[in-house]
């Protein structure tokens, strides 16, 4: 069951690679949030309840609702154009992300460790790389944020893999999530919106030598 | 002491002989061999003209020049008899004393601010720079040959055994004759008769000197000639008894003078541009002498 969810998660990545509109990205993030909720629920069934509840809340409330809504608001508020302007055509990105997934599978296959749940590992890694890929191939700053959120999801999955023994780590992951999102989005993303009317990375390339 | 007296004596008639040879070679009778000395004494009696540009340097230089050469002569031995100055490495002092005199002649030439004398000065300084290595290398080779490091010891212990040593002696004589010619700027380096700027070296430097100073300079030249003659004669004297030395000395002096005269009458002056290379040949030749000595001592096998 977990595996099915995870595979669906991987598919969201593929979808993300070909998505055009920012709104789609947000929807995908929401969906990923719910998937993670499911995974958590299935995986961490036997850790103490309060902690579990906390984690579940985080996945649903934070990942699936708060952040996407906030993103939505930001887009509206700053009047960002709806299209994620990628440097590369979607077709290429699709191929690349597929490759990423394949490669991670091959790589993880070379790892011989009984303690490691392969599915988690593969999905987590490919999510990580996808996030990176999105960050580095999209032009808008907000897409950077989204990419970062994807990376966070990947890390979260990885933490779930070891979550049974050390729920503490999962909490850490959550902290990271909240911290980063709050910092990046909350503290000043809207500031960027105030200062730069069309937040394009090229406008943040003045500090260089 | 002996050498000093002899050299001074020789210096009296040396140039005379040269001139006489030249006039005979060119088919004239020529003046007596003491004519140059007479001229010099005439100069001594004359008053002098100084350029308004010059400073005291110009006036002291000739005396310094004279004194330096005189001092250098003191270092020359004659066969068994050492010079007044004789110690290890005295020929270094000898060379540097001459350089001292040259220094003053050069700056006095430049003191006049003339457009000619600088030329002479420049050439003089360059030539003396080029000629010094030859002198030192020859002396060094003899020092190596004899194992001694002073004029007197070198010459008194110098004796020719094998053929090669004669060759070396000959080469050394040649080198020293040439050094003498350059130091006194005679043919083939420089033609004392003309004042063509193409050929002027020493003559150009003293254009503005007159009277007593000029006399000093001229006689210094004579003394220099005699001095080199003395050195050359030492190659042949070795440690012979005194009865032979003095005749040999004068023979060599006169021979030397005649040679100079002949060279001057039958050779053309070099082009100025070719002089450096010619002068440097002396260094190369003296290096040959050096290696010859090494050969003689069977140092390199």
């Amino acid at each position: 069951m977990t595996d099915i969810l995870l595979i669906m998660f991987a598919m969201t990545l593929l979808y993300m690679s070909i998505a055009n509109r920012l709104l789609t990205y947000i929807r995908i993030l929401v969906f990923q949030g719910f998937l993670l909720f499911g995974v958590t629920f299935l995986e961490l069934s036997h850790i103490n309840v309060t902690n579990l509840v906390l984690i579940l809340l985080e996945t649903v409330v934070f990942k699936a609702l708060a952040v996407p809504l906030f993103l939505n608001r930001v887009i509206k508020h700053n009047g960002i154009t709806r299209v994620a302007e990628p440097f590369l055509p979607n077709f290429v990105s699709l191929i690349i992300i597929t490759l990423i997934i394949v490669i991670t599978i091959v790589l993880s296959n070379s790892i011989k460790d009984i303690n490691l749940d392969k599915t988690f590992f593969v999905v987590a890694l490919s999510t990580l790389f996808t996030g990176l890929y999105i960050i580095s191939t999209r032009r808008k700053i907000i897409t950077h944020v989204m990419g970062y959120l994807v990376i966070e999801n990947g890390v979260f999955i990885l933490s779930l893999a070891v979550g049974n023994e050390m729920p503490m780590l999962v909490n850490l992951g959550i902290m990271l999530d909240i911290f980063a999102s709050v910092l990046i989005l909350g503290v000043f993303f809207n500031k960027i919106g105030d200062v730069l009317n069309d937040p394009d990375v090229n406008q943040l390339r003045n500090l260089k030598d | 002491m002996v050498s000093l007296v002899l050299i001074l004596v020789a210096s009296l008639f040396f140039t005379g002989i040269v001139i006489r040879t030249k006039s005979l070679a060119s088919g004239r009778k020529g003046s007596g061999i003491f004519q140059p000395m007479k001229d010099i004494f005439k100069q001594f009696r004359k008053g002098s003209v100084y350029s308004s540009t010059t400073s005291f340097i110009f006036q002291i230089a000739p005396s310094f020049y004279f004194a330096s050469v005189l001092m250098a002569i003191l270092a020359i031995p004659l066969g068994k008899y050492p010079g007044l100055i004789s110690f290890q490495g005295d020929f270094v002092l000898f060379a540097y004393l001459l350089a001292f005199g040259k220094f003053f002649m050069i700056i006095s030439a430049l003191d006049t601010g003339s457009s000619f004398e600088g030329m002479g000065a420049s050439r003089e300084s360059l030539f003396s720079m080029l000629v010094e290595p030859a002198f030192f290398i020859v002396m060094g080779s003899f020092a190596l040959l004899t194992g001694e490091t002073s004029f007197h010891e070198i010459f008194s212990t110098l004796h020719y055994g094998s053929n090669i040593s004669y060759l070396l002696g000959g080469l050394a004589t040649f080198v020293f004759i040439m050094i003498a010619m350059i130091e006194n700027s005679r043919m083939p380096i420089d033609d004392p008769k003309t004042h063509l700027e193409l050929t002027m070296v020493h003559e150009a430097m003293i254009l503005d000197n007159s009277g007593f100073d000029l006399g000093l300079i001229l006689h210094t030249t004579n003394m220099k000639f005699a001095m080199y003659g003395a050195i050359i004669s030492n190659f042949f004297i070795g440690d012979l008894a005194s009865m032979y030395t003095i005749p040999i000395f004068f023979a060599v002096q006169i021979g030397f003078a005649i040679t100079v005269g002949l060279i001057e009458s039958f050779m053309a002056c070099f082009r100025m541009g070719h002089n450096p290379q010619f002068i440097f040949i002396l260094t190369s030749v003296s290096l040959l002498i050096f290696f010859g000595v090494l050969l003689l001592l069977e140092r390199f096998v």
């Binding site: 990176l132 960050i135 580095s136 950077h144 990375v201 943040l204 390339r205 260089k208 | 004359k46 008053g47 002098s48 003209v49 100084y50 308004s52 540009t53 010059t54 400073s55 340097i57 002291i60 000739p62 310094f64 004279f66 004194a67 005189l70 001092m71 100055i85 110690f87 290890q88 490495g89 270094v92 002092l93 001292f100 040259k102 220094f103 050069i106 700056i107 430049l110 003191d111 601010g113 457009s115 000619f116 004398e117 600088g118 000065a121 420049s122 720079m129 080029l130 010094e132 290595p133 030192f136 290398i137 060094g140 190596l144 490091t149 254009l207 009277g211 450096p276 260094t283 140092r299 390199f300």
Partner: protein, 676 residues
């Protein structure tokens, strides 16, 4: 003794602290007084040492430094005295020289304190024998001398030269650091005695290698070719008294270092001797060759410092060969020649620089080509410069001759050694020394007569005011010493016996006999110099007597019929050396612009030559240029793009993971192919 040394350092610190709070007039005086006091102190110390009680005590030091031994031996004292004298004259002259900068109060106090600091650190370098502390003091010396060099820091080229100096002295300290580090690692101590213990146990090759490392470090400071390139830049940039002091003694600390290391090493000295001798001959000849073509008076003198370092080096090389072959005579002649020439050079070179300073202050230019006829405006300076020139050319009866004579004698003596290669090397060295002498003659006849004699070439004479008597105050002292060494060298040689004896004692042989022999020879030279002076005076007096009542008339210089002003037709510096320049052109690097005269009535024609240093071009400029090119290839890194910043991280991780894998595969492939 210990208290004296501490007092010496305290004086420096106190003065430096006090200086900023003084009136601008007071600063100079206070500095001078402080220097005098310090000089007095160290002179007492070194005289005590020479009277036979070497100082040797040790501070406890700290966890890092370890014990800090302070040893004042004969060698140190010799250098201490040399340094002190030059710094004293420098201070006296500087007091006058600085008058025209009276308005730059803060700058002057910085300068003065740096001057004192330099002096103090130099003295301490001579006595401290702990590697780490030595390095620290060494760099303090370098930095403070950097400060005194860039006094006129508002000039662009001054600062440029200063930075060049700073970098090169840093390179030198890098070499020293490596050397001391080596010893420290092997012996676990910074004490200089560690060098001895280490090299005495190791094979000779190690010792030579260690020496080379030390030598590189010290050679940069001393200005051996090809490490000399900072010197000709720094000297013209600095004020005259600083140039004098720098060329006189600061570069000599490099010589001191080399000698100190030679004292400490226990190894085969023959290769070292060959190395130093050959390098020194090259240094000497190259230095003077470039000196001749310079148009800037101070730059010319700077290149002559390089030449003289070469002469000193020849002496040291001889000494090393003596040590290597156990030849007492060589040891004596080589080291005494080198040490004496160190003193001599510090004397006449400072004299020359100070007088060039006077020239600069009155004419505001150092360009030889535009000068001339200054002897009428500044006769005293001219005479002093003349004496300096004669001395530096090594002409009798001045001090330069004595030291060069000793070295010559050494070379001639060792000609007749059984070793063929040694004989040839000696002949090579003689040739070099002779060339140096001859070229120096050209160079200084040019320098002196173009600057002081004839008519002024460009600047108008009436603008030049007459020299002030204060400006030549310190010169008398220097000239006294110059003459003293020239005429009564035995006094100095008596003192020199002790440091030279150290070197001999180091290989446990006694040179007393040879030394006395040499001393007597040298004293004879001195006597003859005296005779020569008398003779010169005598001849001149006779001339005076004879020409007393002869008619004397003043006229124009003979112009071959042309009686107009011949100012512009005088020989210039570059025309004076033209023939030489043509001969040596293949060794030199002169960029020459020339406009030929055309037509019947030619327009104004001009010719200018800019001498440059070939070694500098190929050894410094090109590599630095290439290095900077290489570095500038990587400027894309900080491109201001967050995406690439993140990529760096991932790339780093990816490479670290993948590269070993790939290497594994390649290895496997190679093995596979090998098995085929």
């Amino acid at each position: 003794m210990k208290t004296l040394i501490e007092l010496f350092n305290l004086t420096a610190i106190a003065t430096i602290v006090a200086l900023p709070f003084l009136k601008v007039k007071g600063k100079g005086i206070v500095t001078l007084i402080a220097i005098c006091l310090q000089v007095a102190l160290v002179s007492i110390i070194s005289i005590k040492v020479f009277s036979g009680t070497p100082i040797d005590y040790s501070y406890l030091g700290s966890y890092i430094t370890g014990a800090i031994p302070v040893r004042v031996d004969y060698l140190s004292s010799w250098f201490i005295l040399t340094i002190s004298f030059t710094f004293l004259t420098g201070a006296v002259y500087g007091l006058h020289y600085m008058k025209r900068y009276i308005d730059q109060s803060a700058n002057i106090s910085l300068h003065a304190s740096a001057y004192i600091l330099t002096f103090t650190s130099l003295i301490n370098l001579c006595i401290v024998q702990n590697g780490l502390v030595f390095l620290v003091i060494w760099e303090i010396m370098a930095l403070s001398s950097f400060i005194i060099i860039i006094f006129e820091h508002y000039k662009k080229e001054t600062l440029k030269a200063g930075i060049n100096f700073l970098i090169q002295s840093h390179v030198s300290i890098l070499f020293l650091t490596l050397a001391f580090m080596w010893v420290k690692i092997k012996t676990g101590t910074f004490d200089f005695s560690g060098i001895t213990t280490y090299t005495s146990t190791e094979p000779a090759l190690i010792g030579v290698g260690l020496f080379i490392l030390f030598f590189l470090g010290f050679a940069i400071k001393a200005g051996f070719v090809p490490f000399h390139t900072w010197l000709p830049l720094a000297h013209p940039a600095a004020p005259a008294h600083i140039s004098g002091v720098m060329s006189g003694v600061i570069i000599k600390i490099g010589i001191f270092g080399i000698l100190r290391v030679l004292l400490l090493l226990k190894t085969n000295f023959v290769p070292i001797g060959y190395f130093i001798l050959i390098l020194s001959v090259i240094t000497g000849v190259y230095g003077v060759m470039l000196a001749i073509i310079q148009h800037n008076l101070k730059k010319l003198l700077a290149y002559h410092s390089i030449e003289n370092i070469g002469i000193i080096g020849i002496g040291i090389g001889l000494g090393c060969l003596g040590l290597g072959y156990n030849n007492q005579l060589l040891i004596v002649l080589g080291f005494s020649g080198a040490l004496l020439h160190t003193l001599n050079h510090s004397l006449f070179k400072s004299l020359l620089f100070y007088s060039s300073g006077n020239v600069y202050q009155l004419t505001h230019t150092l360009d030889i080509e535009s000068l001339g006829g200054l002897i009428k405006k500044m006769p005293k300076t001219a005479i002093f410069f003349l004496i300096g020139s004669l001395a530096i050319c090594g002409l009798p009866p001045f001090n330069g001759f004595i030291s060069e004579f000793l070295i010559y004698l050494g070379l001639f003596k060792s000609l007749s050694s059984v070793d063929f290669s040694l004989t040839v090397l000696m002949m090579f060295a003689i040739l070099g020394l002779v060339l140096i002498g001859g070229l120096a003659l050209i160079c200084f006849t040019k320098a002196f007569s173009i600057v002081f004699l004839g008519e002024s070439r460009h600047i108008s004479m009436d603008k030049v005011e007459n020299e002030k008597p204060a400006s030549t105050l310190s010169f008398y002292a220097i000239v006294m010493l110059i003459m003293a060494i020239g005429v009564v060298p035995m006094l100095f040689l008596k003192v020199l016996a002790l440091p030279v004896g150290q070197f001999a004692a180091n290989i446990s042989i006694d040179t007393a006999f040879e030394y006395s022999e040499i001393a007597s020879t040298a004293s004879m030279v001195g006597i003859y110099s005296a005779v020569f002076i008398l003779l010169v005076v005598f001849v001149f007096l006779i001339r005076k007597m004879v020409t007393k009542n002869r008619p004397v008339s003043i006229a124009n210089t003979w112009g071959c019929g042309y009686n107009g002003s011949s100012k512009k037709m005088q020989y210039t510096a570059s025309s004076f050396i033209r023939t030489y320049r043509k001969l040596a052109s293949s060794f030199l690097d002169i960029d020459k612009h020339k406009k030929e005269a055309k037509g019947i009535f030619p327009k104004v024609v001009h010719q200018e030559t800019h001498p440059y240093d070939k070694i500098e071009r190929w050894l410094i400029d090109k590599p630095i240029y290439n290095l900077r090119q290489l570095l500038s290839r990587f400027t894309f890194l900080q491109n201001g793009n967050v995406q690439s910043y993140i990529l760096y991280g991932f790339i780093f991780i990816a490479l670290v993971i993948l590269v070993p894998e790939i290497i594994e595969k390649i290895k496997f492939l190679i093995n596979f192919l090998n098995q085929l």
